[in-house]
Symmetry: C2
Subunit: 378 residues, 2 copies
């Protein structure tokens, strides 16, 4: 973090700016690898295509004001000055204790106050999760929040959901059940799937494979499936993550994070090899020119910028984490995802789902009936 | 498994067939997805290129004899009749109790008896590991054996080593240290790297990231590095698996198996998307023709058949597990890997490495000096 450099306006001085129909997105402008100019460029790209959205933008006002003026988006962007910035190397525990003046903290705070429906940041993931946890708090029935990502797949939507990809390094059977409920809700609201198919990541599809807690988690998820309106397909393997036999892949944050980065690493290795193969000879360079359209078509399907945005699930409020290295298009994609989720009232629907199924094991017949009736539709 | 159908010759009747200079490979002909004809075709391909190798082939003699005759490799292949076959669906525990008449058991037994230096099988991985464990036994100082795979990488050799990719579903800090020693020995003998760089797979490269046992394992591996003649590069992430900052990636068998299958799944998704992109329009089909050489060049670099062969490490004897779906080229690649490892006396070198470093913590100055002197060079 850098030294604070106090500037007006302060939080207290600012009036709520959103009209009731608009979706308001709270955006942390700082902390991305390529600086606030990229964030503001992405913002302009997004706002141009999304008339019903407004922004509360957090960061150093002296830096941000000219950027906003240049893009002519001042009428839809409210600036909140924050002197401090969370660096990528800052430890989450440090930010939790000393981060009150950072743009990240301010961006989360605006969601907590109900002045925005969703928060977007390109900053340090660990710090963002830590600040979100202490300020927004965990939703009822959630022990461990999770980060969900979208994965290019063979399904009609083009994507599968995987969680947890790194909120925490472990998850017990109850956490995995909660991940299944949250993942189903995310697939329903984010991908428009009415009845998502849930799979549990393991080292084999047979019942006897893997760790004992996975077997228990599988039983819990299977039992919750009819009430929570998803289908449980059983264990899935690493190779199934992009497959069309499943929509949501549930795993602990350690395994999920390694799978995510392994997939990204493999894709980037193949892209590199593909480029080298086409650069090798004069003839192959000509072939590359002719193949350009096809290669662009491929690139579009696996472009990580299209799937930019890890979503924090299980908090009282939705937080979208954009890749630290996102360019303007990537930032715009994350904003668009945040907008869609806010528009569906995702956060409340998810909380209702988890709370309903969570009480099923213990509570009265009324609760059960409420859960299976139309009361919970998120 | 199928019903036994007894045929001669029996084990006792067969004389050792190898000349002392030849490498003898014990091959399980059964259990692969495409049957013994594919294994024999791969065998012929391999023997044609490798004059110094002989084979002991296990399976139903009545099926195998005509295949061998047709390929005219009878002078270099000794047939061992085994009436029974391990099916892909057989549980390892079942094979351990009732598998004595299977070709897999017979293939391992030939290594145990010292009549072959290495075993190759396309069969059921779990059963193969179980039979290898009870017949060959774990090497001194090894608590958990591991399966090592080769991964296409940006390194000059074209490959990195990763282990464990599925021998067991867990590993504690001592197991991870053993994996580092075994992986270094494999990289030295299999890839010809004098001083391999070892990395420990984690969810971040910073010291404070990940599970507590990984921190301890990292300290153990760092301490063993100078004596075991490898470099420890610290934590690596999923994206580093194909990178050139590391040669050997150490992880537990649960995480490793999921990373391996995720990588394979991602590669196959991209290949599929690439084919679709080039099939889309008449123009793109013409472009594909012109790009053929470049695409073949790419395919060759990531062809899973080139890296066919998971190696079981930490047993008294080397076992190479070929992909169940391997074609003749894949089988030949696995045989070639087995041949190279047997040629270097890999199994004994690895055992010496593990034993030497394993005793360092407890034993006398002499042992330490033996370990750092030229006595152990594998």
């Amino acid at each position: 973090m850098t030294l604070p450099a106090p500037t007006a306006p302060s939080r207290d001085a600012v009036e709520p700016a959103a009209s009731p129909k608009d979706v308001v997105i709270s955006v942390d402008a700082m902390g991305g690898d390529s600086g606030p100019a990229t964030v503001v460029a992405g913002l302009a790209e997004f706002l141009d295509k999304t008339p019903g959205a407004r922004i509360v933008l957090h960061g150093r006002a002296s830096e941000l004001a000219p950027l906003i003026a240049r893009r002519r988006i001042g009428d839809r962007v409210e600036l909140m000055d924050a002197a401090d910035v969370v660096a990528m190397s800052d430890k989450p525990s440090h930010v939790m204790r000393h981060g009150k003046d950072t743009s990240m903290w301010s961006a989360i705070e605006t969601v907590r106050e109900g002045r925005a429906q969703v928060c977007v940041s390109c900053g340090n993931t660990g710090a963002l999760m830590a600040v979100a946890m202490i300020r927004l708090r965990k939703a009822e029935g959630v022990n461990r929040p999770a980060i969900a990502c979208l994965w290019p797949s063979r399904n009609p939507t083009g994507f599968n959901v995987m969680l947890d990809v790194g909120a925490d390094i472990r998850a017990d059977e109850d956490d995995l059940l909660t991940f299944a409920l949250m993942g189903a809700s995310y697939a329903r609201n984010g991908l428009g799937l009415e009845r998502p198919r849930i799979g549990l990541l393991n080292v084999g599809v047979e019942d006897h494979k893997g760790r004992a807690e996975l077997k228990v988690a599988g039983d819990l998820i299977a039992r919750a499936a009819p009430l929570a309106e998803f289908d449980y397909v059983g264990f899935v393997e690493g190779g199934d993550i992009p497959s069309d036999r499943v929509d949501v892949i549930v795993t602990d944050g350690f395994t999920g994070n390694i799978a995510l980065k392994t997939g990204e690493g493999t894709a980037s290795l193949i892209s590199e090899f593909l480029r080298e193969a086409f650069r090798k000879t004069p003839l192959s360079r000509i072939a590359a020119l002719l193949a350009m359209t096809s290669l662009t078509r491929l690139k579009k399907r696996i472009d990580p910028r299209r799937v930019n945005g890890g979503v924090f699930l299980g908090l009282n409020g939705t937080v979208v984490k954009s890749h630290g290295s996102a360019d303007a298009t990537g930032v715009a994609a994350a904003l668009n995802l945040a907008y869609r989720l806010a528009k569906t009232g995702f956060s409340d629907k998810l909380a209702a789902r988890v709370a309903a199924v969570g009480t099923l094991g213990h509570d009265s017949t009324e609760t059960r009936e409420a859960a299976v009736s139309g009361d919970v539709t998120g």
